[in-house]
């Protein structure tokens, strides 16, 4: 019974949205619009719940002198700063100059710097990968080397040839592999949805 209620809800909502997509009917349109509003409200509620849970977890870690108190303190401080910038009296929310400064001068460079560290982490991970799963990682390294060479920013005839080859490889073999993966994911998604709708999920596991 507990499992059938979510299944019924998912089935009904899915069918309403699908029917609205196919049939032009004002009543159906209004119902589908209301369902979309509920989904947005649920997403907002989930985001709020997540934020409260985050504060509770890190607040507890701070009070109970957890292992990463500095990290928890920085997280809560950052959260408080953003909330103050957006909610202080006279603030215009996300358009407020203070919020914009925090994003443009602090948040964006910090996240971009973290992202740039991927360069080092990826190279280190490949070295370790060669030790653990050598055959697969070797193949990946060879392909990565080929793509890197094709993307070298050289001028002249050689640069033109490399750029043309890079374009072909991105739209040809690499694109084909990626599209195959996407199609596979979509098919698996459809199968999982069908199993959920017919209540057969997890029975063979």
């Amino acid at each position: 019974m507990r499992r059938s209620i979510p299944t019924v809800v998912v089935t009904v909502i899915g069918l309403i949205l699908l029917a609205d997509f196919i049939v032009a009917n004002p009543t159906l349109d209004r119902v589908a619009g209301a369902v979309s509003e509920w989904i947005m409200l649920l997403a907002a509620a989930a985001a709020l719940t997540g934020a409260i849970a985050l504060v509770a977890t890190h607040g507890r870690a701070l009070l109970q002198r957890g292992t990463d108190r500095i990290g928890s303190a920085v997280l809560l401080l950052g959260l408080a700063l953003m909330l103050i910038a957006g909610f202080r009296p006279g603030s215009s929310g996300s358009s407020d100059p203070m919020t914009r400064w925090l994003v443009a001068a602090l948040l964006a460079p910090l996240i971009a710097s973290l992202f740039a560290l991927l360069f080092f982490f990826l190279l280190a991970a490949i070295r370790r990968g060669l030790a653990i799963r050598s055959r697969e990682t070797s193949l990946m390294v060879v392909v990565a080397l080929a793509v890197l060479v094709l993307l070298l920013p050289l001028g002249g005839a050689l640069g033109g040839w490399l750029a043309a080859a890079a374009g072909w490889s991105l739209s040809g073999p690499i694109g084909a592999v990626f599209r195959g993966m996407l199609i596979g994911v979509a098919v698996m998604g459809a199968i999982t949805a069908a199993r959920l709708l017919f209540g057969v999920e997890g029975t063979d596991e």
């Binding site: 997509f21 619009g33 979309s36 509003e37 989904i39 947005m40 997403a43 907002a44 985001a47 996300s94 358009s95 100059p97 919020t99 914009r100 994003v103 443009a104 948040l107 964006a108 996240i111 971009a112 973290l114 992202f115 360069f119 080092f120 190279l123 490949i126 070295r127 370790r128 060669l130 030790a131 653990i132 050598s134 070797s138 390294v141 060879v142 990565a144 080397l145 890197l148 060479v149 993307l151 070298l152 920013p153 050289l154 001028g155 002249g156 640069g159 033109g160 750029a163 043309a164 374009g167 991105l170 739209s171 690499i174 694109g175 592999v177 990626f178 599209r179 996407l182």
Partner: protein
């Protein structure tokens, strides 16, 4: 792990950072070319944005990720500048929290550089893809006024009111979601996209099929586009260029050569000898 290897691993990133900084400061070399020699993709975006009527309304969806946005930022700014220079009315919207943060900063910048530009901030629409679907019918929030908002409402108030949509893609809500959710409902809306390289393989089929009128999804195409619309140069003396300084091809080349060197060394060490190879070092580290 030996102390020599540990010292090398500690010093290597520092040396690389110093070299990258020097390369960034060095004068540009003519032997290197960052812009893609095949400018067809850059030209497609330039032409698509030039085709928006001067009295038209363009929607700019900024849903990039903060991590990958620096890669596409010059092209995004150049595209916004191309629209602003022609007097096209622009409405900016976001469906992701990170996108909203970026949009807020870009709006601030545009309002400083072009105070008279007809811009409308549609803000953040919650609900991710559900919010996107909801916007097909109505995208202007209640209480938002001004000439641009009035024009969008006069045209119906939904996504069909726009002459074109410039999609700044990210991992959460990107051009793919727009093609899947909006293209099927508003087929007449012309969509062009700027996305980071990581999204290129999944977006290329949409460009090839014409569902995306234009797509920039590599650094080399971005640089070619910014060069094509004159984004690296200042519009008049004393005014900062729209897209900042052109990325240093030498710094990028240096980073790529280091990556190639590390990969070749790791692969050769693994294939040629077990003693002192990355494989044995990896086993030690484990």
């Amino acid at each position: 792990m030996s102390s020599a290897w540990r010292r090398r691993a500690f010093l290597a990133p520092i040396v690389l950072l110093v070299l990258l900084s020097l390369a960034e400061l060095a004068p540009r070399l003519s032997a290197l070319q960052l812009a893609n020699p095949d400018a067809s993709r850059a030209e497609a975006l330039r032409a698509a944005l030039a085709a928006v009527p001067a009295d038209g309304v363009a929607l700019v969806d900024i849903d990039a990720d903060l991590g990958t946005y620096p890669e596409v930022r010059p092209a995004v700014r150049a595209a916004l500048d191309q629209l602003v220079r022609r007097g096209v009315r622009i409405a900016v919207v976001s469906f992701s929290a990170e996108g909203r943060a970026i949009a807020s900063a870009e709006l601030d910048r545009m309002q400083r550089l072009a105070p008279a530009a007809p811009l409308l901030d549609l803000g953040f629409r919650s609900g991710a893809e559900a919010g996107l679907v909801r916007s097909v019918r109505s995208i202007v929030p209640e209480g938002v006024g001004g000439a641009v908002a009035a024009e969008i409402r006069r045209r119906g108030g939904g996504l069909a009111a726009f002459d074109a949509a410039l999609l700044i893609g990210g991992g959460e809500i990107g051009p793919r979601a727009w093609v899947e959710q909006v293209r099927t409902r508003v087929p007449q809306l012309q969509m062009v996209a700027i996305a980071p390289s990581v999204l290129q393989p999944e977006l290329e089929p949409y460009r090839a099929s014409g569902q995306l009128k234009a797509l920039l999804a590599t650094v080399r195409d971005d640089v070619a586009y910014v060069s094509a619309v004159g984004g690296w140069s200042a519009p008049r003396p004393g005014v900062a260029p729209v897209s900042g300084r052109e990325p240093s091809a030498l710094a990028i080349l240096l980073g790529m050569l280091v990556a190639i060197g590390v990969l070749v060394e790791a692969l050769a060490g693994h294939l040629l000898g077990p003693v002192g190879s990355p494989a044995s070092r990896g086993q030690e580290e484990r």
